[in-house]
């Protein structure tokens, strides 16, 4: 089980590497999907399944769907593939920078292999993440209202950015 969780962590890293060194945004989106699936699996292995499901719904089901059709708007009709030498060079360069920096900085110590988890709170058998997110609606209601207001505001921000016409620097034509 430990090795399975480490495998999830390694695949998470490889997915993000695929996003960073993508030959074309289509492959970047695939890397992001793989990374978020591995990250969600890792969170489930720790016991916090609620935030993992929230990540799946909001991130994959909401944000990535919007990203995918924006990629279809904006990307090339004839994309490069993974075998291009520049893409391989970018990927190897990123790996080299991160691993050499980690080894030199003394960050790497592969003896310890896991994190502890918790599934209850003393005598009450409430799940950690359910009770934690419930705080968002009781004591953290101010933050909840701020986040809702921010999300509403972003709708108008997007409207103004896209409309433009002759106002604003982005739509200067």
């Amino acid at each position: 089980m430990t090795y399975f969780v480490i495998f999830l962590g390694v695949c998470f890293m490889l997915g993000v590497l695929a996003v960073a060194s993508n030959p074309s945004p289509y492959y970047g989106v695939v890397g992001l999907v793989v990374a978020s699936v591995m990250g969600c699996g890792w969170l489930v292995s720790l016991g916090v399944s609620f935030v993992s499901l929230a990540l799946f719904l909001v991130y994959l089901g909401g944000m990535l769907v919007v990203f995918v059709y924006s990629v279809s708007l904006a990307a090339d009709p004839y994309p490069e593939a993974w075998g291009d030498w520049r893409v391989v060079g970018y990927g190897l360069g990123f790996i080299l920078v991160v691993f050499v920096g980690a080894v030199l900085g003394g960050f790497v110590d592969f003896w310890k292999a896991g994190v502890v988890t918790v599934d209850g709170g003393g005598v009450s058998f409430v799940r950690l993440d359910f009770s934690g997110v419930a705080v968002f609606y009781s004591w953290g209601v101010g933050l909840f209202l701020v986040a809702g207001w921010g999300l509403l505001l972003v709708l108008f921000v997007v409207l103004e950015l896209v409309r433009g016409l002759s106002r604003g620097a982005i739509r200067a034509v």
């Binding site: 709170g121 921000v157 620097a169």
Partner: protein, 98 residues
Amino acid sequence: MSPLHFSFYSAFTFSGLGLAFHRTHLISALLCLESMMLSMFIPLSIWPVENQTPSFTLVPILMLAFSACEAGTGLAMLVASARTHGSDHLHNLNLLQC
């Protein structure tokens, strides 16, 4: 550093480097921003598990809400640049070039 901590630390660094070395498309830079948000969400979710403080679980949810706002704004700028310049190639964004 345990290998799991190292994996999301290096995931954040990879996506930060990918954002710095963005190449042709604006949307590649936006995807790297999204992967930075993802690689910050995962450790923020692990923090309440490791330190056994359940009330911290609201921080990754809040971060997800604001990351959705940021993704929407970035995509709106992508659409605006695609409407103005015809594509989202970064060498078209040269209004400040002398």
